[in-house]
């Protein structure tokens, strides 16, 4: 061991250390949760379960609301992501490229949902949504999910716009590009990394919303957290572990979808 360590340089040692840390922090919990979901009678301080069984997974798959909740979760998350893109991009551009009266106040307002507890805002919004007839409906849940997601979306896009600067836009305009052409040929390709981060971040935040969905959805909009969180009050750890894996797979699926979308966008942009 000592000989092995002696043969490694500082860089190799640092890389090995980072790899071990990564495995402990990210891979090991997955393996543990996965094993837990197929375990029978696994209690502390046992290192391994007493037995293996697929009963927890059968129980999850048998739940009649599973498919409905998955579909609703995806629908809500997709709409939240789309609305965030449509709202955050122009807001971020205005905040990064323009100076105007009241800019700091608007900045504060747009970022305030991060500082104010979401439940407080949701309780207030519930009355408004009832009056507009969108409480207890999916569209109401989509709007309320904007509260915790939009401030982050604007911050991510603003950083992207500030990195890009406004000079490239000006250069494109003197070369004959109009407003939309400038956006599709210059801004969009350069902002794709920020848009990718926005999509993943808002998807994950929307995915995890329980309280806001419960308040505005009123129990009629069933997303995966609505189905999953009540299991925490039960003692069936294997079922909880199974749901956790399902939960973790959704963002991974979404990453795949985002990558496909990015490639299609790049192809479309190259044609403009």
């Amino acid at each position: 061991m000592r000989l092995f360590l002696k043969g490694l340089g500082k860089r190799e040692l640092a890389t090995s250390f980072m790899l071990i840390l990564f495995i402990i922090l990210f891979i090991l919990p997955f393996i543990t949760i996965g094993l837990k979901s197929v375990s029978v009678g696994w209690r502390w301080p046992a290192l391994l379960p007493n037995g293996l069984s697929l009963d927890a997974w059968r129980s999850i798959m048998k739940d009649p609301k599973l498919i409905e909740s998955l579909v609703t979760t995806f629908k809500v998350a997709f709409l939240v992501v789309l609305l965030n893109i449509l709202l955050a991009i122009p807001a971020a551009r205005a905040l990064s490229h323009y100076t105007f009266k009241g800019k700091s106040i608007i900045e504060g307002l747009l970022l305030s949902p991060i500082l104010i507890p979401g439940i407080l805002l949701a309780m207030g919004l519930q009355f408004t949504m009832i009056q507009f007839g969108i409480a207890d409906k999916m569209i109401g849940v989509v709007f309320v999910h904007l509260i915790p997601t939009l401030p982050y979306a604007i911050r991510v896009m603003r950083a992207g716009y500030e990195r890009m600067g406004s000079s490239l836009y000006e250069q494109a305009s003197v070369l004959g590009a109009g407003l939309f052409t400038r956006f599709f040929t210059i801004a969009l390709p350069l902002l794709l990394p920020s848009i990718r981060s926005l999509m993943l971040l808002t998807f994950v935040i929307s995915l995890g919303q329980y309280a806001l969905t419960a308040i505005i959805g009123g129990g009629t909009v069933i997303t995966l957290p609505m189905l999953y969180y009540p299991y925490f009050s039960s003692s069936n750890d294997a079922v909880i572990a199974g749901f956790s894996i399902l939960f973790a797979l959704l963002p991974l699926l979404f990453i795949g979808f985002v990558e496909v979308m990015m490639r299609l966008v790049i192809r479309a942009v190259n044609r403009v």
Partner: protein
């Protein structure tokens, strides 16, 4: 900018020189349509363009930083404007390749901007502007970020290319040598207005005012007049003649340097510094007198043309 009026002939190369912050870049941005005029008009080929958006003007601005699009190759950068004009793909490629050959970067056509040096980026930027054959090309200190040797070589290349292509251009700089070399006519700008316009040699050797002399004149700008550099001598203080026919200004040798392979003294005086030819007698740090015959001093002309512009 204040009360700025001037005209350019087709094919002319017009240079504007002035200190930083005097309004040179603002002038270019207004001509390009990136900033609005409070008053006045801009005519191109006798048509007003002041209400046209930048993308609809036949005016191209080449910025100080090359501003190449980082996600596009060199060839894609050069064809960008042609694509906006709906030029066919074959024609786009042909024109872009011709222009890249002219700027000697054809073999870099598939490279990305981050793979190029500063000088190469500026040449691609120039190719991208010229390929559009604009009615007016604006150059905003395009060489300011380059080192001295590269600046000199690129200056000559750009000037030749502009003449070959027959492009009317407006070039702005704060560098005196660049101002003299690049233009057919030269304007001196201060605080948002032109204080003198004329042929480069005339402006440099016969500044119309002390302000103009300080910005562009090659020599000493004094209250009573201008002493051209060619008439100036640097002498040790103890050699001051009693002859009243001479005028003197106190200074100090800040450095002994070489310009165009000739040894010179950089003499610092109250209002700046000048380069005077060396006679081998002085050393750095020595107190000196800048002297010239009174009859060599040129009085400021204060001549103005029909638009009230100093000539």
């Amino acid at each position: 900018m204040q009360n700025l009026s001037f005209h350019l002939e087709e094919g002319e190369h017009f240079t504007v020189v002035g200190p930083s912050g005097c309004g040179k870049s603002t002038l270019l941005r207004c001509l390009a349509g990136l900033e609005n005029l409070d008053e006045g008009d801009i005519y191109l080929r006798e048509k007003s363009i002041v209400r046209l958006k930048p993308e609809n003007r036949s005016v191209v601005l080449m910025f100080q930083d090359s501003l190449l699009f980082p996600h596009l190759t060199v060839l894609e950068n050069v064809t960008y404007g042609l694509k906006r004009k709906k030029v066919s793909k074959t024609e786009r490629m042909s024109q872009a390749e011709r222009m890249l050959k002219k700027v000697k970067l054809f073999k870099w056509k598939d490279a990305f901007p981050h793979e190029l040096s500063g000088g190469q980026k500026q040449r691609v930027s120039l190719a991208r502007a010229l390929v559009l054959k604009p009615d007016l090309l604006l150059l905003d200190e395009p060489f300011s970020s380059l080192d001295a040797t590269l600046r000199e070589s690129l200056r000559g290349e750009v000037k030749d290319l502009l003449r070959e292509e027959g492009i009317t251009s407006l070039f702005i700089t704060h560098d005196r040598d660049e101002a003299i070399e690049m233009g057919d006519r030269l304007a001196v700008m201060l605080e948002g207005r032109f204080i003198q316009i004329g042929l480069p040699y005339d402006v440099v050797t016969n500044p119309s005012s002390m302000e103009s002399a300080k910005i562009i004149g090659e020599g000493l700008a004094l209250e009573e007049g201008f002493i051209p550099l060619s008439k100036l001598k640097a002498i040790p203080v103890q050699d001051k003649p009693s002859n009243q026919d001479f005028t003197f200004v106190s200074g100090k040798v800040s450095a002994v340097t070489v310009k165009n392979n000739i040894e010179c003294y950089r003499i610092s005086w109250e209002q700046g510094s000048v380069l005077v030819m060396s006679d081998g007698r002085l050393v750095a740090g020595q107190e000196v007198l800048l002297s010239a015959k009174r009859e060599e001093m040129k009085k400021y002309s204060h001549k103005k043309d029909q638009w009230g512009l100093a000539q």
